[in-house]
């Protein structure tokens, strides 16, 4: 009985409390004049995705700082509210709901890592918010028309990446004939190997079309901790090229395991590696290939021109202070920068922070970005713009853009 009283009492008081507070909160969102434009997002600042989440935090803060120094947007300052989703996909949705419903942010920015972006997209769609996002490349799944990718591998990455890679290695003096494919069973990595749903195009099918011999094809769960079995198989199959369609440090672990068996593959391609640890392998990873939209190589920075060098240098300082392990302005940071450029372009095109107008403006006028130039968005292909993706390679202990030739900083080795 008492508990019933307690429950009703608590509920009643909550309502009263809500009423008392509501007047206070009304004013925070609706301002039109000089109040700042508030952008909200979550990032994985703790937990498994935190290493990369932090890069996006540093890059975003740097962007907002520069934007405000140049007068903000529409003459208003920009404020960025970042919440920590703890790398827990289940927390992302409620936190975006909080940002939109409670904090009444004007705009939102995507979180990091594909599962989290999908969760945020559902919330954005329910509220009609524009969602620029840095890193999700699963084009077929990102069906919300006001989702804008900042890192595009085009509408069919599962065709584009294998072809890009095989074109690049075909120019080598001795092009690979036998390939080993190791695939992480996580979103985008498996997509590039096997395709999605009824579209079975991917590394495996394209390798066969091109007459390459797939000598090892192994899929492993993201929780894999022991790489000895796969390493032994790769060693004994003697491939010319190991394609590691993986995330994070998987490739590092796989190469270590091979090295422990006294074997180093002649050539390695790693799809989405954490860039730092792979460099840390030293000689073992020299010549390794990966994908990139931007590397701070002199020729590339010069080509971008403008503030590029200053942005790259400033990022290095800020990231070092924030204890980012690999404080280099490369693909992740560039994607982050693109996302903010897209949001800013949209606001300018709309002339307001009305999300519907921003979405329409981006569809009609596109966006101007510092590192990927002018982007135009076609909702028919889920806004995935023609890609600027290239191949990078570790040369003398540094990542260097090597393919395609017109954007390369050095030839592939």
């Amino acid at each position: 009985m008492l508990r019933r009283v307690l429950g009703v009492l608590a509920a009643t008081v909550m309502v009263a409390a809500g009423a008392a507070c509501s007047s206070k909160q009304e004013s925070s969102g609706g301002g039109t004049d000089q109040s700042p434009i508030v952008v909200g997002s979550t990032l994985s600042l703790t937990g498994a995705f935190a290493a990369t989440g932090l890069i996006h935090k540093v890059a975003g803060e740097q962007y907002v700082e520069r934007l405000n120094a140049a007068g903000g947007l529409l003459g208003r300052k920009v404020e960025w509210t970042v919440l920590d989703d703890q790398s827990d996909t289940a927390k992302v949705g409620p936190l975006y709901e909080q940002l939109i419903a409670q904090n009444k942010v004007d705009l939102i920015m995507g979180p990091y890592a594909t599962p989290n972006i999908l969760a945020a997209m559902a919330v954005a769609e329910r509220h009609g918010y524009v969602l620029p996002q840095h890193t999700a490349v699963l084009a077929p799944q990102l069906s919300y028309p006001c989702q804008f990718p900042a890192w595009s591998i085009g509408p069919t990455p599962n065709q584009f990446i294998p072809n890009l890679l095989f074109d690049a290695v075909a120019t080598l003096p001795t092009p690979p004939k036998k390939i080993a494919v190791l695939t992480s069973q996580s979103g985008s990595a498996a997509f590039v190997t096997d395709g999605l749903g009824d579209d079975k195009t991917g590394v495996l099918s394209i390798a066969k079309e091109r007459g390459l011999d797939v000598v090892v094809d192994r899929h492993y769960p993201p929780t894999t901790s022991d790489w000895a079995g796969m390493a032994a198989e790769v060693r004994d199959a003697k491939p010319d090229l190991v394609i590691s369609n993986s995330l994070g440090v998987d490739t590092v672990n796989a190469l270590n395991a091979m090295k422990q068996l006294g074997y180093t593959p002649p050539k390695v391609f790693s799809l989405f590696p954490a860039p730092g640890p792979l460099l840390g392998l030293g000689a073992a990873s020299e010549g390794a290939l990966s994908v990139s939209i931007f590397e701070p190589n002199k020729p590339l920075v010069d080509k971008v021109g403008g503030d590029a060098q200053a942005i790259v240098d400033e990022f290095k300082t800020k990231a070092t202070t924030a204890k980012v392990a690999f404080p280099v302005f490369e693909t992740q940071a560039a994607a982050s920068w693109n996302a903010w450029d897209i949001l800013a372009s949209g606001v300018k095109a709309a002339g307001s922070v009305d999300n519907k107008a921003i979405c329409d403006g981006l569809h009609s006028k596109g966006a101007d970005t510092t590192f990927s130039g002018h982007l135009s968005f076609d909702p028919k292909v889920n806004n995935f713009w023609p890609t600027t993706l290239g191949i990078k390679q570790i040369q003398n202990g540094e990542w260097v853009m090597v393919w395609p030739q017109d954007r390369a900083a050095a030839p592939i080795k």
């Binding site: 409390a17 600042l45 703890q86 409620p94 909080q98 979103g187």
Partner: protein, 633 residues
């Protein structure tokens, strides 16, 4: 509070919440409260689902993610990929959760030994298997996770947030209502007995296997429904969403922190942990948020090891008296949002309740009176009133029984019959097979060969609780009381689940009589922990006779007692016998058996070597050789 009243109060609160949520804008309730409340309700569902088996029956599970997973994937596959409507896929999610639970239970509960840690690991393995299964079979979710369409719903509901809140509220009400109803039912009492001592529960007539199956299936169904709704709320499903360690760990944290033996414990725990986590995230503390959460967990579990709810309930007015003024004060001050205020008020109430108990510990349960404080047991019973042995009717008929353990033959071709009104003493050196025979008679072990009949009914192959219902009751050499129940309820359990069965209030009345028979009536409201060994032995006997057996098996019921206590116990045994119950008593003290037993049976190395009048048997040279000779050696 009766179950019916509790359920109607619960429904009332739910309806109130639903109405509040529906009119949240006009009432000025911040929309985000709805989002947070939806999260709280999700965790209430999961923590309550977990608690049905793991809290009530004590079968700790790490597998909650499995139910969440099958529920979420039912929605992802059916609605996301095959266009089935949401209501259907959500219900299927619940059914699949129940089915998975049924399979898990059928594997785990078949073997009595899959308890404790072993059961925990078994359940830990299930989500790993399911996650791997989903990843391997890319056709299930396309290999990359599935996005879900926006559900369609009538306009009067409001927006999506209202919809998902109402759905969560409905399932949470169902879950809490189920937990509440179970707790007040026979099932709940049975699960509680299983939690305290499963073996004792089974021989008292609790159908343990069936009860555990019911609990796990309810748990699976509710967990699956909750998981299905999680998918709807999230709008996208990947293995990372559901098959994480976060789910089982936080469910355990919530239920245990709140209190596992009461339906409201998981509710309190889920609300507190979810709101606390949310607040920590909103404060942008980054790592410090988790450090504080970890610290709170440590401090509260140390301070209130039996759960916060118990502490709050022990001091209801103090709790309300702190909670309401703090909440009102903080809110009216205008400095805090309603959420901050709610959290701080919760923390204040909890801290005060816990600290108050630390400073002024609840009056320790009255120390038990020393043994023999009720000396009436000394009066010598009139031998005339004892029922006369009537060997014409076999209450116990054992024929050609063999029992092997691995390569060791513990009982070899034992035949024995016990008639109406007899007290049969079962003696023999250590390891001669006495306790094994008791275990066979009570059904705890099956014989390797041979037949056993109680009151004319064959018992071989029956579950122990069914054997109990044929009319056998036993005591344990080391008493096995139900630690969480009062002495009276310990006995009432035996009446409830005995041959005739009864409701709890009726059972308590009968139990009081049985307690009086063993002269423990004055300790009825104590917990067993407060009893000394002698009193616990008497409690064992009271519990055994409460099952209204025709045959009572006393396994070394006098072991460890002092002479005065032995006299007392013997008097009690005589009184039980006078009540018309035949007795088989395993005992070392030949002096006692000599005066108590009408017949003595001697086992040596698994073989029955003598059976007859006490005086004759004890003078049998073979018995003296086997028994005394061995003891001397």
């Amino acid at each position: 509070m009766s179950v019916r009243k509790g359920l109607s109060a619960l429904v009332g609160v739910s309806l109130l919440l639903a109405v509040l949520a529906h009119f949240n804008t006009s009432l000025g309730v911040a929309p985000y409260l709805l989002v947070l409340a939806t999260s709280v309700l999700f965790w209430v569902i999961q923590a309550t689902s977990w608690n049905l088996l793991s809290g009530y029956a004590g079968y700790f599970s790490f597998g909650q993610a499995a139910y969440v997973g099958v529920g979420a994937y039912a929605v992802a596959v059916l609605t996301g990929r095959h266009g089935v409507s949401y209501p259907v896929s959500i219900v299927v999610g619940g059914l699949l959760g129940a089915l998975l639970a049924l399979i898990t239970g059928a594997i785990a509960f078949r073997l009595g030994s899959l308890r404790g840690e072993i059961f925990a690991l078994l359940t830990l393995a299930v989500p790993f298997i399911l996650a791997a299964f989903v990843r391997i079979n890319r056709d299930i979710d396309g290999g990359l996770g599935t996005t879900l369409p926006l559900p369609a719903f009538p306009d009067w509901i409001g927006d999506f947030q209202h919809l998902i809140f109402l759905l969560m509220l409905a399932v949470a009400t169902l879950a809490v209502g189920t937990a509440l109803a179970v707790q007040g039912s026979r099932l709940g009492r049975g699960l509680s007995a299983i939690h305290d001592n499963e073996d004792a529960a089974e021989v008292l007539g609790v159908p343990t296997f069936r009860y555990k199956m019911i609990a796990i299936v309810l748990s699976g169904a509710l967990g699956g429904l909750g998981g299905a709704l999680l998918a709807v709320r999230n709008g996208a499903v990947q293995p990372e969403l559901v098959f994480t360690l976060t789910v089982p760990l936080f469910v355990i944290v919530m239920a245990v922190l709140g209190g596992r033996r009461h339906w409201a414990g998981p509710v309190v725990g889920a609300a507190f942990v979810t709101v606390l986590q949310d607040e920590l995230a909103a404060l942008k503390l980054d790592q410090w948020g988790n450090i504080i959460l970890g610290g709170v967990l440590v401090v509260f579990v140390v301070a209130a090891p039996d759960g916060l709810f118990g502490r709050l309930r022990a001091r209801p007015w103090l709790t309300v008296g702190v909670f309401v003024p703090v909440l009102a004060g903080l809110v009216l001050s205008g400095q805090y949002t309603e959420l901050d205020a709610l959290l701080y008020a919760m923390v204040a109430a909890i801290v005060v309740a816990v600290v108050y108990d630390r400073l002024r510990p609840v009056a320790a349960p009255h120390r038990t009176t020393p043994a023999g404080a009720e000396p009436a047991g000394r009066t010598a019973p009139s031998p005339l009133s004892a029922p006369q042995p009537d060997s014409g009717r076999d209450l116990v008929a054992v024929a050609g029984v063999i029992r092997d353990f691995g390569g060791v033959r513990a009982l070899d071709d034992v035949s024995l019959s016990v008639g109406q009104g007899e007290i049969v003493g079962l003696v023999g050196p250590n390891g001669s097979g006495k306790t094994t025979l008791v275990n066979l008679l009570s059904g705890a072990l099956p014989p390797s060969a041979g037949t056993i009949a109680i009151d004319g009914r064959a018992t071989v192959g029956l579950a122990p609780h069914k054997v109990a219902h044929t009319g056998v009751a036993r005591t344990y050499q080391i008493p096995k009381p139900f630690a969480s129940m009062t002495v009276l309820d310990n006995v009432a359990m035996a009446v409830m689940f005995g041959r005739t069965g009864a409701s709890l209030p009726q059972a308590r009345l009968a139990a009081a009589d049985h307690l009086a028979t063993v002269r423990l009536g004055h300790l009825g409201d104590q917990l067993p922990a407060a009893l000394n060994l002698h009193q616990r032995q008497l409690l064992e006997m009271a519990r055994a006779i409460a099952a209204e057996p025709v045959v009572l098996l006393l396994d070394e019921a006098l072991a460890g007692l002092n002479p005065a206590e032995i006299d007392d116990a013997v008097a009690v045994i005589r009184r039980i016998h006078e009540g018309g119950i035949s007795i088989i008593i395993v005992e070392h003290l030949l002096r006692v058996l000599n005066q108590l037993a009408t017949r003595i049976v001697v086992l040596d190395r698994g073989v029955l070597i003598a059976d007859g009048e006490p005086a004759a048997v004890l003078n049998d040279p073979a018995v003296v050789r086997a028994y005394l000779g061995r003891q001397r050696a």
